[in-house]
């Protein structure tokens, strides 16, 4: 039925099966869209956010998907700028995942703001001192870059490629992709960082506030670093899941191992920096505001030291240790475990840098405020997952995402 559009040399499931997958994901998507419309038409009273939780699940989701989508810029950076050639076999997928992550982030932001129809004021009336302005600009620009990086992939579809103009367009874009990728990397370094800056500059919030370099708090660098370190793990994890779902090997182990190794070493350096940062914050920054480390991790029902351990040890040191060792990296099970832990680690980091910041009282007579999201918030946060599944399913079916697939899965 749609065989004319399926890439050469690969096998795809029957259209019926494909449609069932789309239908299931589509149903979840619709649920999310319904919640989204509720938020737009009825307002943010549909959420469980409140005046203590101006930022909540959505901002966490934004920070998390952007960190996870960091695989795109970092892989692109390694591939086009550093010249790690093997990574061409995974960069397509990294771009796709990045595209999904960033478009999701933008969508969530559009739901999250109280006046979505005025959202463009962030550009028009930009306050250049605000980290969020930097985020908005770089995020939008980098989303443009991801789109530019994704377009040639779409143009490679057999059906589309028949159109000469589009064929040439794809070709030309490929030719100067390094320029785009470099721009993207430049933008990414900044917006990943400014996302960290969002929390780090809050000098009214001793939990997140960090000193820094020039105008950038340490979290600026930690966020960029962690996105570069953990993002590829997410790319690799999704690749692994895709392989499991399709039942095919899609990327060669050497490619996976190379990226995993780089990611692992990045994590090692990151986690050292993070530990130093935490120690400095706990022993110098916070006490200068009259607070001790344990003030942030006690007197409430949820945030205990466990979350610090989960983030740094379980989600940082352990996966890093696995990925930098040959043995760990080469064992598919250990490797996948490391990916999962790493994803958890970075998500927990983003969680505390958003939610725990809001939860921790600053005034002595204030109380911890705990929060759980409403179903509308959950649904709109799951929406991108469903959307991602759909986009991956379609892209995988019709586009030559995995250059090594035909070789690894020869058709008799």
């Amino acid at each position: 039925m749609d065989s004319a559009f399926i890439p050469n040399g690969v096998r795809r499931c029957a259209p019926g099966k494909f449609l069932v997958v789309l239908a299931v994901a589509g149903a979840v998507l619709l649920w999310g869209v319904y919640a989204m419309l509720l938020c737009w038409f009825k307002g943010l009273n549909q959420t469980n956010m409140n005046n203590n939780y101006g930022f909540a699940l959505w901002i966490w989701a934004d920070l998390a998907v952007i960190a996870l989508g960091g695989g795109a810029f970092f892989t692109g950076f390694l591939r086009y700028i550093i010249g790690k050639d093997e990574l061409k076999n995974i960069v397509n997928y990294a771009v796709l995942i990045g595209f999904i992550c960033y478009s999701s982030a933008l969508l969530i932001l559009a739901i999250d703001i109280g006046q979505p129809l005025r959202g463009w004021f962030i550009f028009w009336h930009a306050n250049v001192h605000s980290m969020l302005t930097e985020v908005a600009f770089c995020l939008s620009c980098y989303f443009g870059v991801l789109t530019i990086e994704y377009i040639p992939l779409i143009l490679e579809n057999r059906g589309i490629d028949r159109v000469p103009f589009l064929h040439h367009l794809g070709h030309n874009m490929h030719d100067i992709m390094a320029v785009f990728a470099a721009t993207g990397a430049f933008l990414s370094f900044f917006h990943q960082g400014s996302l960290g800056g969002v929390a780090g500059v809050l000098f009214g919030r001793p939990f997140s506030y960090r000193e820094g370099f020039f105008i950038w708090p340490w979290t600026f660098f930690l966020f960029t670093w962690s996105a570069a370190a953990y993002g590829p793990c997410f790319t690799l994890l999704i690749t692994k899941i895709t392989e499991a779902v399709t039942g095919k090997k899609l990327v060669k182990d050497n490619v996976v191992e190379l990226l995993a190794k780089i990611s692992g070493w990045m994590m090692v350096t990151y986690i050292i920096a993070k530990i130093v940062d935490t120690l400095y914050w706990a022993n110098v920054t916070a006490p200068s505001k009259g607070l001790t480390l344990m003030d942030f991790y006690s007197h409430n029902a949820f945030y205990g030291v466990w979350i610090l351990i989960l983030e740094i040890v379980i989600g940082g040191i352990i996966p890093a240790a696995i990925l930098i060792t040959d043995k760990g990296r080469k064992s598919p099970a250990a490797r996948t475990t490391a990916f999962v832990l790493a994803v958890i680690g970075v998500c927990v980091n983003r969680w505390v840098m958003v939610l725990q910041v809001m939860a921790a009282p600053v005034m002595t007579f204030d109380k911890w405020a705990l929060y759980y999201p409403s179903w509308q918030e959950v649904a709109t946060t799951i929406l991108p997952v469903a959307y991602g599944v759909i986009l991956i399913a379609i892209s995988y079916r019709y586009l030559p995402i995995f250059p090594q697939e035909p070789e690894l899965n020869p058709i008799d």
């Binding site: 930097e134 870059v145 070709h171």
Partner: protein
């Protein structure tokens, strides 16, 4: 975001920040314009009628 917005001031933060922004946008814009124009030219040159779908793509 434009010098004619009233919050605009010709100070360092604006020039650095907005300079960076317009620089990035410029690269992307010019890059895409170049690709599109060149694609149109290429498509016209290389016999629009021909089927080019199987043209082996050079990935590098």
């Amino acid at each position: 975001m434009f010098p004619f917005n009233f919050e605009w001031i010709w100070d360092m933060p604006h020039m650095v920040f907005m300079g960076g922004l317009w620089y990035a946008l410029g690269i992307l814009g010019l890059g895409m314009t170049y690709c599109i124009i060149k694609a149109a030219v290429d498509a016209g040159k290389k016999d629009a009628g021909n089927h080019v779908g199987n043209h082996a793509r050079n990935h590098d």
